[in-house]
């Protein structure tokens, strides 16, 4: 086992894993506020990438303005989704709301396919394509961007949840909605905020990933699935567990493809996931749910 190859697998795993992690974060934030798994989360990721390409090529905006526009639009889409389809069915069975999110994901995918086309598109890298040497492995600048931006998003969210009044209010909602309501927190507004933040985080993931992996109207399906697996692995409800889960899945995939067989790349992550769930059903970083009967 030589160090160069190992580092190469590790870098590629961390890069891809970061975006799984960001997707998983989105799942977690909405889950905490509403107890709902939002299956349109992958679509937020896709919209980040696709809208950036759209604003860049069709509207002729520069790369940076295009990205800001795309992220803003996706965040707004998250808010609109909450207002139009989630709030009207407030209080409905969680399963029903989950089904609605699946419907929304199909709707968004169809819309993007209709207006932006079925092709795969590439977004130019933020800075240079020349790869850098790193102890016998090579790393492209975009990977560094992905890792740095993911770090910033994580730190930002940590500060938001622990230090700001909005963040604390959201946490309160996630613990006990009724109590939060009683102390004067607008639960409605917190739910809307949770959709906005998830869409924001998801679209950032989509934007930073697009220069490496390219993007198309249907990338959200697989990313959503991997992101969901990541947040189960990390423990549903724990944002930092979700991010860690994403990184773990990404690295396992890369190492599995590198050292065992590329044919079963997708299987490794899911086998490990199953194994962990057998041993610790609440996920690696999750607290076991205690229910009083």
């Amino acid at each position: 086992m030589d160090l160069g190859s190992f580092l190469q697998y590790l870098i590629s795993g961390l890069t891809i894993g970061s975006t799984y992690g960001l997707t998983a974060l989105g799942f977690t934030i909405i889950f905490n506020a509403t107890r709902v798994i939002n299956f349109a989360q992958g679509e937020f990721v896709m919209m980040g990438g696709m809208l950036s390409v759209f604003f860049l090529s069709a509207m002729g905006a520069g790369l940076f303005p295009a990205i800001v526009l795309a992220v803003t639009c996706t965040t707004l889409a998250g808010v609109v989704m909450e207002r139009l389809v989630i709030r009207p069915v407030q209080g409905a069975n969680v399963i029903n709301i989950i089904l609605i999110t699946i419907g929304v994901s199909i709707f968004i995918r169809g819309l993007v396919m209709l207006f932006l086309g079925k092709d795969t598109f590439a977004l130019p890298p933020f800075m240079g394509t020349e790869s850098l040497n790193f102890f016998g492995a090579t790393i492209i600048p975009q990977s560094l961007w992905i890792l740095t931006i993911t770090m910033f998003v994580l730190v930002g969210l940590r500060i938001f949840f622990n230090k700001t009044i909005f963040g604390k209010a959201m946490l309160a909602c996630s613990f006990e909605q009724k109590a939060a309501h009683l102390v004067g927190i607008s639960v409605d507004r917190m739910v809307m905020l949770s959709f906005a933040i998830s869409a924001l985080v998801g679209s950032i993931g989509g934007v930073i990933l697009a220069p490496i992996t390219m993007t198309s109207y249907d990338v959200g399906i697989l990313l959503g699935l991997k992101g969901f697996a990541a947040c189960i692995l990390g423990g549903l409800g724990n944002p930092f567990g979700a991010a860690a889960g994403g990184l773990i899945i990404g690295v396992l995939e890369a190492l599995g493809a590198g050292y065992i067989s590329s044919a079963f790349k997708d299987a490794f992550a899911f086998i490990i996931l199953l194994a962990i769930l057998f041993v610790k059903p609440s996920g690696i970083f999750g607290k076991a749910e205690i229910e009083r009967v």
Binding site: D2, S5, Q8, Y9, I11, S12, T15, I16, K118, D119, T120, F121, A122, P124, T129, S131, T138, I139, I140, L209, I212, T213, M214, S216, D218, V219, L222, E253, A254, L255, A257, G258, S261, S262, A263, K265, D266
Partner: protein
């Protein structure tokens, strides 16, 4: 929406109205995937057939009879393809069939045509369509085998010994992998690595690192967009200077756009349609290809693709067979399709026989290198 419905209705009326003068026209039925995931194949095929129908009828039809082409869209769904084939055979009573667009749909409708004893010329590439030979089934696109042979001949001329393959885990990639695993050793190479990637995978550095550790002389990648573009970019990232061959599955401008600077220097087999301007003037296909390109682009205001060419070949081969046998009876069309020799089409020069219902060989491909974001034919 209303407009679409109206035009669909109009199309329906036109198709059914065709039944009135059935006696003195030659009817050819088409099952194509004009919409759905394979629409990028089916749409140019439909366009080409519509254009040829007009051209042939404007110049007096086939043997003085009006040519009538009935096209049903299967929406890239197997069930709809089977229903369409059934309708063409039972209700429209066509004399020959063209289709399907995809290999899956072709394999699904083959038995309908065989049972009805009507010849079918497929526009899909899978080798299974014509191997083993089914007396009633033909196809126009080259087989994977021809592309693999073309690549390996080029590799042999460069003196390469050790070859690694990297294939996508879908139907196209696995069919290619089978042929590669058979022909690579057969043509005297060592197969040193056999890696696989998923059609939606976004990072193939693991596979490429594994391949690098086997230090092959060349890598052959078999897939359709976007995987191969990711591989080209990963290869650039890893600074691999091992030559990389791509399959004809990425013989489109889109691949060059997606891979960007990473596409430079990649080699791939191309049909001559893609590089028509570059082939020598005395090549028999040159005039035909340039005509087809200019007519198509003028009428549809869209760039031509090799997929439309498959439809061109299918229809013109049937026309040739009808004129050869001076009969539009299905049996006569079938018999005469097998006798066609030296027929110049868009895909290559067809030499059909009872044993070979495709009629092309590896010479229907040229090797090209991507240079300055364009293809350039390489001489051996």
């Amino acid at each position: 929406m209303k407009k679409i419905l109206m035009s669909l209705l109009a199309m329906f009326v036109v198709f059914t109205a065709g039944n009135v003068y059935a006696g003195d026209s030659i009817k050819i039925g088409v099952v194509a995937s004009v919409t759905g995931p394979a629409s990028f194949l089916g749409e140019p095929e439909r366009n080409t057939l519509v254009m040829l129908e007009d051209q042939i009828n404007a110049s007096g039809g086939i043997m003085g009879k009006k040519l009538e082409i009935i096209i049903y869209d299967d929406e890239t769904e197997v069930n709809k393809a089977v229903l369409a084939a059934d309708r063409l055979i039972r209700r429209d009573r066509v004399q020959a069939g063209i289709g399907g667009t995809t290999s899956g749909n072709t394999l699904a409708i083959m038995s309908n045509f065989t049972r009805a004893q009507i010849p079918l010329v497929s526009m899909a590439a899978a080798e299974r369509i014509v191997n083993p030979v089914n007396p009633w089934i033909f196809k126009t696109p080259q087989s994977d085998r021809h592309a693999v042979t073309r690549i390996l001949k080029h590799a042999k001329a460069q003196g390469y010994q050790n070859v690694a393959i990297l294939t996508v885990s879908d139907g196209f990639g696995q069919a290619g992998r089978e042929v590669l695993r058979e022909l690579v050793p057969e043509m005297g190479f060592n197969l040193v690595a056999d890696e696989i990637f998923g059609p939606r995978d976004t990072d193939m550095t693991s596979q490429l690192t594994r391949i690098r550790n086997q230090s092959p002389d060349a890598i052959i990648c078999w897939g359709t967009n976007p995987g191969p573009a990711v591989i080209a970019r990963n290869r650039q990232q890893l600074r691999l200077d091992i030559p990389l061959y791509m399959s004809h599955g990425v013989a489109s401008r889109r691949f060059i756009e997606l891979a960007g600077s990473a596409a430079e220097g990649l080699l791939l087999p191309l049909g001559r349609l893609a590089v028509a301007e570059q082939i020598p003037d005395d090549h028999p296909q040159k005039g035909l290809l340039l005509d087809y390109i200019s007519q198509y682009e003028e009428r549809f205001n869209a760039p031509v693709s090799s997929f439309g060419g498959y439809a061109w070949d299918a229809l013109m081969l049937i026309k040739e067979a009808i004129e050869k046998g001076e009969s539009a009876e299905p049996k006569s069309i079938r018999d005469n399709l097998e006798k066609i020799q030296g027929f110049v089409g868009t895909g290559g020069i067809f030499n059909l026989s009872p044993e070979d219902h495709n009629g092309l060989d590896e010479s229907s491909f040229v090797m090209a290198v991507i240079e300055d974001q364009d293809w350039k034919i390489v001489s051996e």
